[in-house]
Symmetry: C2
Subunit: 280 residues, 2 copies
């Protein structure tokens, strides 16, 4: 079984970013990361994003607010970042605390700065196959992995486990755009192993530690694991029991070191694109 590692994919995206930047005049593109509270997931993703931007020579600034900030106060602060001409793109770490009306904030975000594709304008573009918008970075990272390893998508059966707005749904549309025949599964799917085995490309985005073993993988399937979970022993693991796939799947992404390692590269690519659009 071939391990589809994220690092070579990120290296390829870095080349694209570098080539793109040479054509871009003005200051270095700048990312604004907006975080409320100190959730470990958020802090970890923020660290990863900051490190990636630094590595790529891109600017980044964290805007952190206390867990108990009121909606009114946060909206005011968020709008200031949204309208700040020095910020080319925004990453809003979610979910936001309950007192904040997240849907309202999402509707306020400038679609041109909405690098993770959470605004209605970008959602509508992803849904309609219009690639001028921004898709959620994790969903797009899956496509980047498949393309970097020259895995054909057109005409293939792609099965996605999970229907979230962060991965499952947008990814179904990105795969459709690549002409895959797409099936979306979820907790109410009957005979999930059987449906998953139909997939020549199987995407695990359920958010359950090692939920899928080799009984879910078709012979010679390409398995992409989007899950990032912590198991009972405190170790990072995916939605897929990677080792069990040996002898069944042809290729699979490891966790860690697979799709997760590509997500912040896609974020950086979106940032450079956003900066280019704004300076046009």
């Amino acid at each position: 079984m071939i391990a589809l590692k994220g690092a070579p994919v990120s290296a390829k995206i870095k080349e694209e970013i570098d080539a793109y930047r040479t054509r871009l005049s003005g200051p270095s593109p700048k990312l604004g990361i907006v975080r409320v509270g100190e959730r470990p997931d958020d802090l970890s993703y923020e660290r990863g994003a900051l490190k990636r931007m630094e590595k790529l020579g891109l600017e980044a600034e964290s805007f952190a607010f206390p867990e108990n900030i009121s909606h009114e106060e946060f909206e005011k602060e968020f709008l200031a970042i949204n309208e700040n001409p020095d910020i080319d793109g925004i990453l809003l770490l979610r979910p936001l605390p309950r007192q904040i009306d997240e849907q309202r904030i999402i509707r306020l975000i400038d679609p041109e700065k909405d690098l993770d594709g959470i605004s209605p304008a970008n959602i509508a573009k992803v849904f309609s196959g219009d690639s001028t918008g921004f898709a959620p970075c994790t969903a797009e990272a899956v496509i980047e992995v498949l393309k970097a390893y020259d895995i054909p998508i057109a005409g293939k059966r792609a099965v996605i486990v999970g229907r979230s707005m962060v991965v499952g749904r947008p990814l179904s549309m990105l795969l459709l755009k690549e002409n895959a025949t797409v099936t979306i599964c979820h907790t109410k799917t009957r005979d999930l192993p059987g449906v998953c085995r139909e997939g020549e490309i199987l995407i695990a985005a359920a958010g359950k530690a090692r939920m899928l073993d080799n009984s879910f993988a078709g012979k010679d399937a390409v398995v992409v694991d989007v899950g990032i979970n912590v198991d009972e022993d405190g170790n990072l693991c995916g939605d897929v029991d990677y080792d069990s796939l040996e002898g069944t799947a042809a290729m699979a992404t490891p966790v860690p070191g697979g799709v997760g390692a590509v997500t912040t590269s896609v974020l950086a690519k979106h940032l450079v694109r956003a900066a280019a659009n704004r300076r046009r």
Copy 2:
């Protein structure tokens, strides 16, 4: 094989509309139909919509513009209708002629009046499973047919042939919301008959006259035909060869008299909902 006729579904929707209207104060809800040119498809759909509104005691007005109207002129006229407080909902007949920037008009339409779900705000809501928006009427008509005939959707395999923004894509999300396991097929799908036979519910929305015969239908499948085509002899026909399904499918919608007969009822239901929202 049971014929899933549209008339009883429309009768059921009429009851819902009547019940809804008794709680609605003020003048009768009013639909504005916006048409550019005289395409036979548009004229036929407009006639159907006007007739339906009249039958239901709802107001409707047609706004027709010449085929060669400029974008600027049309935009001005469209905005006037969009902002007209007497108009509760709008049906924009499409496609618009080439000189008009259709995407721009779509972005202008007030999401609260956008009865056929073409605005980014409504597209994003359909995609995210938020039922406060308006889905495209034809896609929703399919769900209305299934529900009116008490056909279970949750946990079922639903296969959709066609990935348009009018039916295939939004319907995939509506079926997902009903907890079906959804597969989307299209012109690049390999072994289309085989994939279609997996469907316990098969939706034909390809736009090709009698493209699907019984070799595409699984044993005891429920077949919903969204196609409205004209065959070589000038007769209306669907995407499905209805007669060939006898002995294979359990139920199927005829064309004409199936889903098409429900679409304007859904439009009327959306109109009443839009009026209620606006008067809240």
